[in-house]
């Protein structure tokens, strides 16, 4: 590739591909070449390591320090004072609780039922592991499962006290709603489309290219386009809205319709990703296995469940891991389609953090982003250890 050659030229002046042999000889004898060769180990990996350290690890530490302090902006500069975990307290128990976790009032009966059911399930899961039926019990495994279980219990209680008690969700609940419901829908539709496209029909290439398109489109553009299309007065579905008597209904005013629209936009963009990967996995399933199933008289559903599905499970688990990781970062669509509204009903945590930053409160912004990091890491690592790895181990 031309760019690669260009880079070589840039790296070692005086070399051009035509004279490569001569330069090789010259370099081999030169001290420079020896130095390069000795340092190659370092030279190869250092740029990446240094970049990650400066722009990823250092900010990670700095954000943590920031989240433990109070920042005052003063004409161009700022002063920081250590305040301990007060920013986190404010988000979880204090005056910002309604924004982050949701409005906590009396927990309803349904809320208590959900909490009890969640606690029961988690306890059963822990006990099952500790009895050692499903494999060896280790200290690390136990601690990891305890962390997973306690975070899941906390989240269950949060949903029980907000969603199931009829009060408003906070940004954490909204983010999890996007991740769980959105990714679930996307997986089902993506899998369905992949199965359809794996059938022996004509025009598969056409469908494949068309279905692939949305993934490439800028999310901001998608946000605007869907906003335009969802408009009940000027959008393409306005006649339908009017026909069912919702002509003056504004979807952005109801929290659930607003969230649903964001999930529609998100799905439109991300289903292609799941589709492309699962289609490749389906095409890798050995044909003779499926044909043997046919000969033995298995129906379509049976073949899918007994033969195809076990073959694609490892890929499906991995693709969902990637999808979930990206799902936690969702920000452009809510910002573009609803601006986080109505109220805070569609605000994802990233957007919450950005709003805090825009309100000149970097410390709160840092605390929120750290809480997001914590939830993301715990849930993704749990998913990886408990689902992806196990599947990979079972199915080779």
């Amino acid at each position: 590739m031309a760019t690669r050659d260009g880079t070589i030229g840039g790296r070692r002046p005086g070399e051009d591909p035509a004279a490569a042999v001569v330069t090789t000889a010259a370099l081999r004898s030169g001290r420079l070449a020896e130095w390069f060769d000795r340092q190659a180990r370092t030279l190869f990996i250092m740029p990446a390591v240094v970049m990650i350290l400066i722009f990823s690890i250092f900010p990670l530490i700095a954000t943590f320090i920031l989240s433990l302090s109070r920042v005052r902006l003063r004409g161009g500069g700022y002063t920081m004072r250590y305040v301990g975990a007060r920013n986190y307290e404010k988000q979880i128990f204090g005056s910002e609780q309604w924004h982050f976790l949701g409005t906590f009032e009396e927990v309803s009966v349904l809320g208590w039922v959900v909490t009890a059911a969640g606690a029961g399930l988690l306890a059963w899961w822990l006990v099952k592991y500790l009895r050692g039926r499903s494999g060896r019990v280790s200290v690390v495994g136990t601690i990891g499962r305890l962390i997973t279980a306690s975070v899941l219990f906390g989240l269950t209680f949060m949903f029980a006290a907000t969603l199931f008690s009829g009060t408003r969700l906070g940004t954490l609940g909204v983010t999890l709603f996007y991740v769980v419901v959105g990714c679930g829908i996307q997986f089902l539709i993506g899998l369905g489309l992949a199965v359809l496209c794996a059938q022996p029909i004509r025009g598969r290439t056409f469908f494949r290219v068309v279905f692939f398109l949305p993934m490439m489109v800028t999310p901001i553009g998608i946000g605007f386009t869907f906003r335009m299309m969802a408009d009940t007065g000027k959008g393409p579905f306005a006649p339908i809205w009017q026909w069912i008597g919702l002509g003056d209904f504004a979807w952005a005013v109801n929290p659930w319709t607003a969230r649903a629209f964001i999930i529609v936009g998100d799905s439109w963009q991300w289903i292609p990703f799941i589709f492309v990967v699962l289609l490749a996995a389906l095409e890798n399933v050995p044909r003779d296995l499926v044909e043997a199933g046919h000969v033995d008289g298995a129906g379509g559903w049976q073949i899918f469940r007994e033969i195809t599905w076990p073959q694609i499970v490892p890929v499906a688990a991995t693709v969902m891991l990637i999808r979930v990781i990206e799902g936690f970062k969702l920000v452009d669509l809510p910002n573009m389609m609803t601006g986080g509204g109505p109220g805070i009903a569609t605000e994802s945590m990233t957007l919450h953090s950005f709003f805090a930053w825009r309100a000149l409160d970097p410390a709160q912004s840092a605390a929120i982003s750290y809480l997001l990091l914590f939830v993301t890491v715990v849930l993704c690592v749990s998913y990886f250890m408990l689902v992806v790895r196990k599947r990979a181990a079972v199915h080779g």
Partner: protein, 367 residues
């Protein structure tokens, strides 16, 4: 059909009809679709294609509408429902006026520069690291890593809380690290391996960008680089680095090592082996990864939102900023800007679909 026809001379009409219907769903041969089945499959596929393509269509016709046509309620077919008008597109070419679209030009140029530079840098750095991790054994001492992290925390505290100058703190920290690594670090015997480094690099992708972006903003503010191309380029490079390392590591590991070994026997250096033998062999994987990273940088929103204001503003920021304002939303203008924003990626997706999906598959299918 496998089943033997029933010997009954006059089957019940209902059953006959059921069997007739069933014939539609019996494939003629194994490995082929039945007629009914293919109708269902085509129906669903066409339905989904409509769902995928309709937003593009709506965007295109909105860009051709006069404000009146937009506000009069939906109209679907140009020349039938409304008369297409190029007024929004004409604004784009009207550079003399201070039209909303003339302002698109700078963000467009910024987006092109930032996307291409950061992609080139990211693929170069990432591919080199991926290759090194696939071929060279690294054993950094755990003690040195600990020392480094501790020093980083101290530096961050010194800079943030006590207001020490960033450069001085960094220099002192670096010097201390060299000293401590040579003395204290030696007493720790345990070290980490390539797999750990690889995992560390890839796991950076889990990090939500919003966690890192505020300190990055402050760093660039300190060195006076806010709202410059370079700031955004460097940040994008790091954001996309895990993808490149992940995809290219698998790719390099799958290349047979013999060629490299013989090149090294002939006296070629590591760098030379890499650029003249490995890179040409990994061309397909590099192309796929490059396209993927290019599109990701083109579409990125959050980092640019933090790091740019006017000079280095990228297209997504421009579009997001047009959403609102005192005149209300100019739907037709925004449609035009979004079309010119997504046309390059759509064109790439159509032309290079195979390559790009290969890039996506490189990582996901192998796990």
């Amino acid at each position: 059909m496998a089943e033997i026809p029933a010997p009954t001379p006059a089957p019940l009409p209902a059953r006959a009809r059921a069997r007739g219907l069933r014939r539609w769903f019996e494939p003629a041969r194994i490995g082929q679709m039945s007629r009914g089945g293919s109708i269902v499959v085509y129906g669903l596929l066409v339905l989904w294609s409509a769902f995928v393509l309709f937003p593009f269509y709506w965007l295109a016709i909105t860009s051709l509408k006069l404000p009146v046509d937009v506000f009069d309620g939906p109209s679907f077919l140009p020349w039938v429902d409304f008369t297409p008008n190029l007024h929004a597109w004409a604004d784009l070419l009207d550079f003399s006026a201070k039209s909303p679209l003339a302002e698109t030009l700078t963000p467009y140029r910024n987006s092109v520069i930032i996307a291409f530079c950061s992609t080139a840098l990211c693929v170069l750095i990432g591919a080199m690291a991926a290759y090194a991790l696939a071929r060279i054994e690294y054993k950094p001492r755990l003690g040195n890593i600990l020392v480094f992290v501790v020093l980083m925390v101290v530096t961050a505290v010194a800079v943030g809380v006590y207001g020490v100058d960033l450069w001085i703190a960094a220099a002192v920290g670096g010097a201390l690290f060299v000293l401590l690594a040579r003395s204290v670090g030696r007493y720790f015997k345990r070290s980490v391996g390539n797999a750990d480094i690889l995992f560390w690099m890839i796991s950076q992708r889990i990090l939500p960008p919003v966690v890192a972006v505020v300190p990055i903003y402050m760093m660039f503010q300190k060195v006076g680089m806010l709202d410059t191309h370079l700031a955004i380029i460097l940040t994008y490079t790091v954001v996309n680095l895990p993808i490149v390392v992940w995809l290219m590591h698998d790719f390099f590991a799958s290349i047979p090592i013999d060629l490299e070994e013989s090149a090294q026997l002939d006296g070629a250096s590591r760098l030379m082996t890499f650029f003249e033998i490995v890179v040409p062999l990994a061309r397909a994987g590099l192309a796929a990864t490059t396209l993927l990273v290019l599109i990701l940088s083109w579409n990125e929103y959050l980092v640019a939102l933090f790091l740019s204001t006017t000079q280095a503003q990228t297209l997504p920021i421009l579009v997001a900023g047009m959403n609102g304002g005192e005149k209300g939303i100019l739907w037709w203008t925004m449609a035009v800007v979004i079309i010119i924003m997504i046309i390059p990626v759509i064109a790439m997706a159509l032309l290079l679909q195979r390559f790009i999906s290969k890039g996506i598959l490189l990582g996901a299918v192998k796990g």
